[in-house]
């Protein structure tokens, strides 16, 4: 270990003097933590060690169930050589991030990026803190730092056997200059990272103590319920506030923006009850006559349109298809879906002319701060956002913060009073940021031996970027549309080798605001590709596994997960009578995944999914038991979509309004899941999303094997599987 100079210039990772005080909030109780943090010595932006040896690791990304909080803490603690039993975590606030010049990197929590995007700098944060703690001990003993080692939060001077705990030297360590030459451990030497550690945030979720956004209580707080025009894009024409003025608890009735009306009352139930009784007239606008058939028709037209933009191409598709001995064609579709987080959208806002504060569950605190600032009419440094625990995110709570802006607009009308806005489930269903809708035409050209030589994949449909980040659309191309279909690369590439290839997109945007929905475009793209590969296999009388193996021969990582699944599923052995298999594989969010589903379909058409075997190669596995939890959970999300997930427009309004019309997978339909975690090293992939994409196609292919019925339009609830 190299010598660390003192005293500090406090340059490493943008450390600043006032940093530890005031703005940092604890994970569970955002109000009591202030005084405590003010005295806690900060080693660097990532690590605080208290005198009692408690370690506080700062987590920039949001925990929403996916386990990133524990995984990131494991990575920091690994390099810190921390005593894991003393490790706690906290979120830095977006305001502090702003004041400290984005010292924590990105706050954005989506795209399965929590670990894979930040592992290097968070580990460096832990390693630097360890070096400073060890140096502080060496200084105290007046010995060379090379004679000192750290293990489980204890520094030992090897020659003399003297020991100091991290807490005993943290104050001195925090005053040292941060090291610049930081060497990270080889993953094979990990003791905490890579292990099946229990999560840090479980117990409070079993006792009711965990505070979610919806549970926040502030002194003198009032509650708000809101109704946005149910017709997408519509506006408020008028409302009769007097009609509900005498309802119990009502404090205020107000218009929010140009499209919504809110009622503020002492309790939320009273606000909601009064709002339901409020006469509102809507100006339904241009979308009032649009229904699902109109949207579908527009997308269908795009399947053969000439305005498509290519995302991946190889060889000569025109010649390949025109010279093919045999052509196979199929058209697929994938609907709009709502995220349906268990906790509906909510935010608490307090506004004064000088300052605006918002407490909300968010996947991106920085984006939330920017949205709050815009709605508050105050610069960002006069605003603050306190991230509260998320009752599910799945992409709904990251890219836009429409609900938080509504809360601010309401609070602005009642300066100084904290207003907690909670949506109803109905509001949540009618004003989502929906999974984009697309259709796809697949055309394959086979040679005389039946080999796949040419493939044209035409996607027609919605672009998320065009709606949310239009500046990211270059030359009419939304690159995110091609998730899982890209040329070879580290993120989400097309895995099969096909000599003549064209994958293109005709953008068709219905008047429905899309969003990043867990798994994003990998979901439907994998349904299209993996269903069609299965169709080619059956049309050419090849075994679906054998065909995939052949097409993946130049892609060893993709082949490896497929083979692992086939082995564990016992693919070469027959299943018990009436049970059939389906396969799917893909590459997305930096990881390679495959699945084998086993299903049976009764004579009267009832589907039973018995088992899914799934393999993931995420490069490095930080917490395998949490990866297993993510994979199991991803099948619930993916199978809910495959079986039931659909939001349809009628007269400009979503038809599904609650879980009675938007069914999701429950316990009795949940298959057994066997997860293979097989990190091959050398890269970092995500785990929260990739396996969602293989859920639906594996099951669809198994249904075909069982019934001979090829389902090309999801969800399954719209089809009969009767013999």
């Amino acid at each position: 270990m190299s010598e660390i100079a003192s005293p500090s210039r406090r340059s490493f990772l943008g450390k600043s003097a006032g940093a530890a005080a005031g703005l940092m909030f604890g994970f569970h109780i955002p109000f009591d933590a202030v005084a405590q943090e003010a005295i806690a010595p900060e080693i660097n932006a990532w690590v605080v060690v208290k005198p009692d040896d408690t370690i506080v690791i700062r987590i920039a990304r949001s925990e929403m169930g996916q386990g990133t909080l524990t995984g990131l803490a494991q990575l920091v603690s690994e390099e810190l050589d921390a005593d894991w039993s003393k490790v706690t975590t906290e979120y830095p606030t977006p305001g502090q991030q702003l004041a400290r010049n984005r010292v924590w990197g990105s706050f954005s929590t989506g795209g399965s990026r929590g670990v894979r995007e930040s592992h290097e700098y968070v580990r460096k944060g832990g390693a630097a803190a360890r070096m400073m703690l060890v140096q502080a001990a060496a200084n105290q003993w007046n010995v060379p730092v090379t004679e000192c080692v750290a293990e489980k939060s204890v520094i030992t001077h090897k020659p003399s056997g003297r020991k100091l705990t991290y807490g005993a030297v943290s104050d001195a360590a925090g005053k040292l200059q941060a090291p610049t030459d930081i060497k990270l451990k080889d993953p094979k030497d990990w003791k905490l990272a890579g292990k099946r550690l229990a999560r840090l945030d479980t117990v409070d979720k079993t006792t009711g103590k965990q505070v979610y956004g919806m549970d926040l209580k502030l002194p003198d707080m009032l509650n708000a319920a809101i109704k946005d025009c149910p017709v997408l894009g519509g506006k408020v024409k008028s409302f009769d506030a007097k009609a509900i003025a005498n309802k119990p608890g009502v404090k205020k009735v107000l218009q929010v923006g140009d499209s919504a009306v809110a009622v503020v009352a002492d309790t939320w139930w009273r606000a909601r009850t009064a709002l339901d009784a409020l006469p509102i007239e809507w100006d339904k606008g241009a979308n009032a006559s649009i229904s699902q058939a109109d949207v579908n028709k527009t997308l269908k037209e795009g399947l053969d349109a000439s305005d498509a933009v290519a995302g991946n191409s190889a060889g000569d598709i025109k010649a390949g298809l025109s010279g093919a001995a045999r052509k196979i064609e199929a058209v697929y579709s994938y609907p709009h879906q709502n995220h349906a987080t268990m906790e509906v959208m909510n935010a608490t806002a307090k506004w004064t002319p000088e300052r605006c504060e918002v407490w909300t569950p968010t996947q991106n605190g920085e984006a939330a701060l920017a949205a709050v600032s815009e709605a508050a009419g105050l610069p960002q440094n006069k605003c603050e956002v306190y991230k509260l625990h998320l009752g599910g995110g799945f992409g709904r709570r990251g890219a836009t913060h429409d609900w938080a802006q509504q809360a601010v607009l309401i609070a602005k009308e009642m300066p100084g009073t904290p207003i907690k806005l909670i949506w109803t489930r109905e509001e949540d269903m009618l004003h989502g940021r929906y999974h984009p809708i697309t259709q796809c035409k697949m055309t394959a050209g086979l040679d005389e031996k039946g080999e796949l030589k040419s493939l044209h994949m035409r996607i027609s449909g919605q672009s998320i970027l065009a709606a949310l980040f239009p500046q990211a659309v270059k030359d009419g191309k939304d690159a995110a549309v091609f998730q899982g279909l890209n040329p070879p690369g580290p993120e989400a590439s097309f895995t099969y080798g096909v000599p003549n290839l064209l994958i293109d997109h005709a953008m068709r945007n219905p008047p429905v605001i899309p969003g990043f929905w867990r798994g994003v475009n990998l979901n439907q793209n994998t349904v299209y590709v993996e269903s069609f590969i299965d169709e080619i296999a059956h049309a050419t009388k090849q075994d679906p596994l054998a065909l995939r193996r052949k097409l993946l021969k130049d892609n060893p990582k993709a082949l490896a997960v497929l083979n692992a699944v086939a082995d564990k599923a016992g693919y070469s052995k027959p299943l018990k009578k009436g049970v059939y298999r389906g396969l799917a594989q893909c590459m997305g969010f930096g990881s390679y995944v495959a699945a084998c589903a086993e299903v049976s379909v009764s004579k009267d058409g009832k589907l039973k999914i018995h088992r899914i075997v799934a393999a993931t190669d995420p490069g490095h596995a930080v917490n395998p038991q949490q990866i297993e939890a993510q994979v199991e959970g991803s099948f619930v999300y993916g199978l809910s979509a495959a079986l039931y997930g659909e939001c349809t427009l009628k007269d400009g309004q979503m038809e599904q309004t609650n879980f009675d019309t938007y069914n999701v997978l429950k316990m009795d339909e949940m298959p057994k899941v066997e997860t293979i975690v097989m990190p091959s090293g050398g890269f970092w992939g995500g785990v929260g999303e990739p396996t969602i994409a293989v859920a639906a196609p594996a099951v669809l292919n198994a249904i075909f094997a069982a019934t001979g019925k090829r389902i090309r339009d999801l969800p399954l609830k719209n089809h009969s599987l009767k013999a």
Partner: protein, 164 residues
Amino acid sequence: MKLNVNGQVHEFEAEEDTPLLWVLREQLGLTGTKYGCGIAQCGACTVHIDGEPTRSCVRPVSTVDAKSKIVTIEGLSKDDSHPVQKAWAALDVPQCGFCQSGMIMAASALLKQKPHPTDADIDAAMTNICRCGTYNRVRKAIHVVAKGGDVKSAGLNIVEGSKA
């Protein structure tokens, strides 16, 4: 109005048709019980009324007898020591955790009625919605409780913090 919640009698004011859920959350400040759908579909609001698992979001407070014993997640045990809570923690069942109060209340009611439930019993009793997808660990945790807290029987091999 009066309610007996977690062994304590509470007095409060509310309209008669206010759902029990919102009285618990707002008038009594017990926010461990969650709002998920408001139409008894998701089970996030499950509490026990005289031992019966009840979806409190559709239960008008005026229909609950003041003498009925209501138990919420906060009152399930004094020190987080209910066997269901312990099994849930040992298997890291929750992901986001929002549905888990309801899951735990439904599971504890089931286990009281049937200390050794079959998978079919679990399917029938546990109709709560979890969007993160914890169903398989929920099932495992219920079996762990049925086996007297034998965590190893679940085969998950999770390392506790103190042993890391």
